[in-house]
Symmetry: C2
Amino acid sequence: MESHISGGGVDEKEVRVANQRRVGSCESLVRILVVLLTLAAALVQGLSKQTKVVPIKVIPSLPAIYLPVTAKWHYLSAFVYLVVANVIACVYAAFSLVLSFANRGTKKSSLELLIIVLDLLMVALLFSAIGAAGAIGLMGYQGNSHVQWNKVCNVFGKYCHQVMASVLLSQLAALAFLFLVVLAVLGLNKRSN
Amino acid sequence: MESHISGGGVDEKEVRVANQRRVGSCESLVRILVVLLTLAAALVQGLSKQTKVVPIKVIPSLPAIYLPVTAKWHYLSAFVYLVVANVIACVYAAFSLVLSFANRGTKKSSLELLIIVLDLLMVALLFSAIGAAGAIGLMGYQGNSHVQWNKVCNVFGKYCHQVMASVLLSQLAALAFLFLVVLAVLGLNKRSN
């Protein structure tokens, strides 16, 4: 009977260790995915550029003259914010991957907490940058007659598609960070019961 | 000696219960604060309106005519998003206050987890709405020569100040939700050790 109980205890411990390993591997995979997503989002946005020849009226009474105009990512502060937020998130994701690997052996509680709080801050940072770039992108796509801001995506279509792709990649990265926080909370909750 | 150990155990339990109560009261206070902040943010933004007489050129060759123009919150989708996000966060904060009160006696783990995950979703929702409204507000304040979007805050100053106040109130509410998630994670971590 004693041997049975003892065997059950070892089984339980083994199952718990196997579960922890599985969660650890899942966490590492998500962090690698976040590094790739944020890097891709920053590159797609940072390299977005399109030149078009457009009619511009210098003097209202004279006919328009045709000039080449270039759309670049750093012309709009919301897009700069998206690139900076993605670079910060990418560097942090790579750093946290190393930290979570280092912590796997020792399981330091303070380091684990630091990673959860920083993951949470990345959720806030990325979502605000996505909101900003999304709102400006939507304005460029639709325009607004009330404030007389004309749409620009009818001219710079390729540029707008690049912005949209960058926003979508950032959205996936933000959701991945959200998932990491939920995963950590579930792990803590399991250990506390 | 036995009595001393037993007495120490009771003391420890009392301290733990007192700490839990203090954390519970702090959580309730923050949730009440969030209800007030999000309600104020939604009202300030939802009631923002300003009418000004501005010169408008209907035909370029003729002189401008002066017409009354009104700036309203629902003319820009980013501001509508901010109001909707604040209303959702306000309703949820009030609901979660009741839930956390109800959970204080039973301490159901699943309900506690649900509240943490929903708090986390509110962080994401509010930060994206703040990013969107902040980006459009900044564009209205500064304008952008590259996309030829003129600033509007030089004309509708009072309206812009109301938008800014609403964004700031939402920012405080979002930080409060972030604090609630950190508080819950710290509580779980303490119980897991």
